[in-house]
């Protein structure tokens, strides 16, 4: 089977969005919570084998590895109707069960300890696939397990599977509720370093933006995790739709993300989705056309990343991939693209090709939606650096006061020095710098200028 993708769900957040993701996939492919094919699922044009494999008794089993250092979320999954879906051997819960305590260092060092066991699972899963394309990692960057263990696993994946693509769905913390985990900036910074260096592509899921969208756009006063996660799972499923519904184009993960990423480090993608609906608002009166969808996708309010307006820098798109689903007239696509270009709806980098790719994808025949056309945008935008800058800013604030560092010092990694934090800060700073540099035409000779600046 070509292009299989193994999903790794890490920590509380990772497992929660992973759970939603699988729920979504099952629905789209007509797979029951027990893993059997529903009677109505007769279309057969979809490719289930990218994310599922079939056991001997024809049951579909997700290529998913569930990892957590505390059993709460996984237990709740195992008590849900989807309990039988997963391969129980792929579920790893730390025997201590204490979790990482929102501590990156703890997660990271626990990772070292459970390395053998975790990679036994991953290896077995990788061996079980014909031609593994890569891994998808679901985690949050602010907590303990997702960030710490995630970082560790990212590093190890790079060593173990250097040829495989590693994509992450990384949940960035909600800035409005920063008080929950005060050490968020430390965790985020340390994770960002790994994401920058070891991941091929990071899809940024910004909790701040997601919550705002839920409250402002969807009018949910107190959005629950599951509501937010259904948004997330929607993004995840659409972004993999082209892999699951084969067509002339974009049949592998690398083909999907390669044109989006110009240089190794500029691989943080933001997402946008339209039309946004929840269950309460199914009956929409909106008329959806390709142009309409593509225009909406370019509006900042539909972006799922909370990026403050930066007046100093002319932020711009590096590249855009629109995945359009539904009843699409292909001729409309080019008309829409032309209009977008003519009206300069999107500001593009001055040094590279203004590439707006459009991937038309089939929709699941088993799920009825209120909209004829829907679209997901995966965009590489320099504005994303604002998130990193914010992290740097918060980190600097904490670091200045040497706050909450005790927890880190407990772990061997930070026992002697906090160099790791410094190096992480440097990497993230470089990332921000590169994003900023990418907004100018000078980026062509960025290496030279950079050197000059360094010198």
């Amino acid at each position: 089977m070509p292009c299989e993708i193994i999903t790794l769900q890490l920590g509380q957040c990772g497992n929660q969005i992973g759970f939603e993701f699988w729920k979504k996939l099952c629905g789209e492919h007509g797979i029951s919570p027990e893993g059997t094919l529903e009677d109505y699922a007769t279309e057969g044009t979809d490719r289930k084998d990218v994310f599922f494999y079939q056991a001997d008794d024809e049951h579909y089993i997700p290529r998913a590895v569930l990892l957590d250092l505390e059993p709460r979320v996984i237990h709740s999954i195992m008590n849900s109707p989807y309990a039988k879906l997963y391969n129980p051997e792929n579920i790893y819960m730390s025997k201590q069960g204490g979790g990482a305590g929102n501590n990156w260092a703890s997660g990271f060092s626990q990772g070292e300890r459970i390395y053998e066991e975790v990679f036994d699972i991953i290896d077995r899963e990788a061996d079980g696939s014909d031609s593994l394309e890569g891994f998808v990692l679901c985690h949050s960057i602010a907590g303990g397990t997702g960030s710490g263990l995630g970082s560790y696993i990212l590093d190890r994946l790079n060593d173990r599977f250097p040829k495989k693509v590693v994509q992450t769905y990384s949940v960035f913390p909600n800035q409005d509720e920063i008080s929950d985990v005060v050490v968020q900036p430390y965790n985020s910074l340390l994770t960002l370093k790994r994401l920058t260096q070891s991941a091929d592509c990071v899809v940024v899921l910004d909790n701040t933006a997601l919550n705002r969208i839920a409250t402002d756009r969807l009018h949910i006063s107190n959005p629950t995790f599951s509501q937010i996660n259904s948004l997330v799972s929607n993004i995840m499923s659409v972004s993999t739709a082209t892999l699951r519904y084969p067509s002339y184009m974009n049949n592998d993960l690398i083909g999907l993300i390669a044109p989006l990423i110009p240089t190794p480090r500029l691989h943080f993608l933001m997402t946008g989705y339209t039309p946004l609906t929840t269950d309460q608002e199914v009956a929409s009166v909106r008329k959806t056309t390709v142009l309409d969808v593509m225009r909406r996708l370019l509006q900042p309010k539909n972006m799922m990343v909370s990026t403050p307006l930066d007046r100093n820098t002319q932020h711009c798109y590096i590249s855009i991939l629109n995945i359009i689903q539904g009843e699409v007239d292909p001729t409309q696509v080019h008309k829409s693209l032309q209009r977008i270009r003519e009206r300069k709806m999107a500001q593009f980098i001055p040094w590279g090709p203004a590439s707006i790719q459009v991937a038309l994808s089939k929709k699941s025949p088993y799920i009825t939606t209120a909209h004829r056309v829907s679209g997901l945008m995966l965009a590489n935008h320099t504005n994303i650096s604002a998130l990193f800058e914010r992290t740097l800013h918060q980190y600097d604030k904490l670091r200045k006061r040497e706050a909450f560092l005790e927890q880190f010092r407990k772990e061997a990694m930070f026992a002697e020095s906090l160099d790791e934090l410094d190096s992480s800060r440097e990497v993230v700073q470089q990332l921000v710098d590169e994003y900023k540099a990418a907004t100018t035409p000078d980026y062509l000779s960025w290496g030279l200028n950079h050197d000059a600046a360094e010198a």
Partner: protein, 1030 residues
Amino acid sequence: MSLSMQGKFDELSKELINHVLGFEEGEENFIRSEQYVLSNLLYHHCLAVNSHNVRRSIDGLVLKFSIHGQHHRSQQLQNLTSKFLASPFFKDHDELDIEWSLLSLLLHLSNSPTQVPVSDDEILLTLNKSSSPVKSLHLAEENIDWVAYLRQGEPEYVVGVEQPLSDWSSDDEKNETEDEALYNQYSPIKSSSVAVKDTCNLPRAPTAQELLEQSHRAQSWLAANTHTQYWGSKKYQQCAPLSSHPAANVAKLWETKCGSRGSQQLSEWAVMRETVWVLMCPSTSHIFQYNADQGFVVHPEITIPSLTPGAAKRLLEELCLPLNQLLEIDAFLKKCEVPSVDPPFPVTLQAYATGIRLWRHRFQSHLATIEDQIKKQESTCTLSWLEGELYPWLRTLSAIATVHSMAAMRPEISPREAAVRLINGLCDGVESAGEPGVRCVLLRLLLHTLRHYLSIINNWLLHGSLVDHAQEFIIQRSESVKVTDETFWHDAFILNPHHQSEAKQSRRSSLKFLSPLVGALTTVGKSRELLAVLDVEPLPRSSAILYLHQKSKMDPEMVLEEVIIRHIQDALYGSSEKAKENTEGNEGVADDSSALTEVDQHMVSNYQQVDPLLLAAFIGDAGTPASPTMTAQKDSVTRMIEDMAEVPRAISVVSLLSSAISPLIRKKEEELSARLTQVLLEKYHMDRHCQAVRSILLMEAGDVMHEFYSHLFSKIDIGESIDGISLTLHLQDCVTRLVPDLAPLFSVSVSSASGFLNSAEENKTDNQSVPADSMLGKDSNQTKEEEQDKNKLGSDSTTMPLSKAGLPDISINYQVPYPVNLLLSEKVLSQYNILFRFCLSIKRATNGLERLKFKDLASWNAVIGSGSNTEDAAGPLLSRLHRLQLLRLWLLCFTRELHDHFANTVFLPFHQTVEKLFLSRPSLNVIITEHEKLLNRLITNCLMGSGKTSSPLQIVLNKVFWLSQRLGQLWRRDIGRVTCNELSAIETQYAQVHRYLVNFLTRLTTTNYLPHLEGLTRTLVDTVPLLTQP
């Protein structure tokens, strides 16, 4: 016969009377009855038969039979008689001469009992005694015998008979005279006894005066009924008119005046009769003489008493042309009676001949009535009257002859052309005919002629077989194309078997009314044949019939011919009832056709009264056309055609026929097409095969093909040799996941054409073909380096010849199962393969670039590892790395742009249109043509249509592929060794390629209307690279 028997007779007769009648002796009735019995017994000459007489009569009969040619009968009579006489039954019979008595009885019985000419015979015989001595001798003998016999018997009787008998005898005689007729009828035997008595009463015979009167009557009858022979003999017998009126003797007066002599005067009656005869059977006669050079000519010296020779000649000469025409037509008819087998005689011509023959029959029966009228002499019949009678017929004849001159089967034209020419000629004839009668006759003729065509069509429509032995139908089945051939649909039926050189002629030879329907007809035929071969029940018969039924409210069993004739009738005369009224109304008018039917009816009724058998024979003869193959049903059609009344106004026969046939054919076409489509789609899954081909060759099944081409590319990239077999296996393996049952039908063939061996050189020339190249002088170093690289690449792939796009000459074959290959023919598949290679080359370029991962960038890790500490080394290195990465982005975006463009605006619409096409379930015709059209458009849209020379787009793709290859080399090489020059070279080359394509597309979109390319052009213009370094 002795007296001793008298008593016995008495006894027996008494018993008989008692037994039969129940009278008792002594009753008056009894006495009468006894007298009757005895008289019959005693005086009947059967009892005293003259054996010589009887033998003579029988011999006479035998002779008579043999003279009358009834040898068989005479033989039989003789045999029977001799056998009868020799019968052992009569030997030692106590009745003497009983055999002769019986024979005599039989002989008398065999005569008409009411018409025994006893007395007259006797009279004549006595009268002619002297003239025939032999006969008289016999008669004398006979007489003597009779008399002697009678006299012999009488005394005996007198002697032995008592009183009452003599009384009875006188009574009897009295009775007889009173009721002679009764007796004659009642008993022939009695009458002969009467005859015997008559001979005895000679004074009663007719007088001489009576005889004279009789003979005079006979003579005058004879004179009135005898024709003097005016023909043949050299000496003309002049026919003197009875009238002495000068007008009746113009010829005589003319002769005496001019002094010329020698012209034969014939009675007008004779001339009329001869005219009628010669029209009935055009052959040389006294008046009309035939010679081979001039045809018919009028005998130069003939006139009728009331006309001068010149006037008579002119009058009669007018008949010569019709006679010639008749002769020609008759000759044609005769020829048609014995149609040649090799080459087969066109049935259309035969049908035409049948039509003509029917007309000829009408004409002849009309002539027969005219002759009757002339013969009866009940009304005044003159030549001018005859001329008037014949005029409409002769007009028709000339019209027919005009058409016929075209119909004549000449050896140099094919049966088909002959048939077409004939039908077209008839159509023209009908349309140009001025008189209703002529039009009607020609229309009938046309309909007769068309019958074969129609029956071919009918057969074809209903039974699916194109039966056309004589190869005369407008459409012909090409024998070389089998139904299982993939070209069947295109080539199975030939409309025009002529060569190109005869194009002009063949255009003329197409049927006017059928030509618009030829497409539909062939579709029906092909569908039929295909369905038959596919072993599928064609439409349930009822539906077609139902249609006909609805359409024409007629008998469902009707065949096409009938339907069409009805249609034409309806069109011409309104509804059929109206037509009937019309004909009835027309009967009063003296037009030929209705008059004819009247005459026919008259004749029919006459004969029906006289002799039903004769009538039956007559009708049978008239009703049965010459061709014995015609069925009874067809006969009804013939009658229908013949019953058509005249056409009052000019008609367009072509449109009439078209409108009659087309709904039937169209309907049939629709039905059959729908059925065929249904069968092809449902039973043979044509759409599924088509989809499979699209999925694989057009890479719609992206996942499957992705697996296939990644495997292929990786093999090529590492320089492994590829072969068709392993690729086939791999492809089948991939396809199995998609369509397991169709996977074995796919195979890959890789041709190792030598043309690809020196791909490097070709690629070099390719560089020149990019115009932008020539603008920038190339750095010689750079070129050298490039060549080295190419050589390196070339050496990598020495095992496998690759094309400029870095691809082997690969094609995917699909073994299309039988009925589906009508759509997916070899030609179509080869087109698909062109597209496949195009897709593959796009994928190749894209795929290569996508595989360039940052992790693989050789020096990346070193840079990362060294971090920013190794500033000196990282300086230019970082910049070069960066440029390399950006170059990758540019190239990748460029190729993705192309890739996405073709995927979204070219391949996807094609996919959708084809799916829609199949969903709408059109006829196979539409499927094939539309599919072909779409495919062609697809090829054009991919800019691949320009044939052998590779299109600019292909050049660009090749170029981009080589750039990406070089980029890949640099990517994997130690970045420290990559010079800025190298990078700049690739960058400029890429920029040139990009601009080249932009220029090309801009030119294309400004000169042509290519909406699908405008978006691409716009995008490419927007993304013209800015890579050139300051």
